[in-house]
Symmetry: C2
Subunit: 160 residues, 2 copies
Amino acid sequence: MDQQQLFIKMVLGNWDLQISRLEKMFSSFTDDELQLQVAPGKNRVIYLLGHFVAYHDMLGESLGLAERKYQHLDNDFLKSADNIGASIPDAAYLRQAWTDVHEKLTTLFNGLEAGEWFKRHQLVSEEDFAKDLTRNRLNMIINRAAHIAYHAGQIKLCNK
Amino acid sequence: MDQQQLFIKMVLGNWDLQISRLEKMFSSFTDDELQLQVAPGKNRVIYLLGHFVAYHDMLGESLGLAERKYQHLDNDFLKSADNIGASIPDAAYLRQAWTDVHEKLTTLFNGLEAGEWFKRHQLVSEEDFAKDLTRNRLNMIINRAAHIAYHAGQIKLCNK
């Protein structure tokens, strides 16, 4: 295994770990329990489920690897805070969308050649990337994995 | 910059980002506010402050780079859950210890040659490391950065 492949394995290994932990958390909640708030007055777990579907659907696009499929969730789960009064997709839909989004990401990640991971992502211009080569696709995975851990810590607080 | 150096910069950049966000959070709490729980019946913020001091003090040792200095905090902040009734070091002590531990880590990290980051950490045997070269020092930083994000997400929930 060369160095690039070793780096990629380290980063994707952490991504997979964070995803699998979060997925286990969501699976441990019944549909009713998904309505619980992580703390009084804070996001419901179902909001965070939808938040990850929308954000990780966007990840494929941000990496420059895929078109979006769940953009219709952005208003409820990315652009708005959780709103208990609002009508949002139900748990069954969001669980299926979670599976769909992450299976697609896994396929994309497995199919990417090592060198492609070190090219720029779509949220940085070619000019800025030339000045800072750390702003590559693999770094976006490092960043998004931390975002998973951030919300996983919150979901862990639910009393159910 | 060669590939190893680029990758190290990516990982340490994320570590620095997570540390600076968490440090800003702790700084935003008065000593009284550090007694707040992140959610009803859950860890106090001061517990998490002490938890990070002890755990990141241990990180130097786990990396095989430094002796421990704050092992006396392990009972209160690593081996025990938060216990409001227990006598623990005060906020001023823990804040100073946080600074001390992280300044030391920064010095250690800056002084480490690139190739050293890809050697094994102390929590894996030579035999197991030979089978899986991802279990190196740098991977421990990736893991610990996720641990920071996990608790930062919880502290963010405090109403103060």
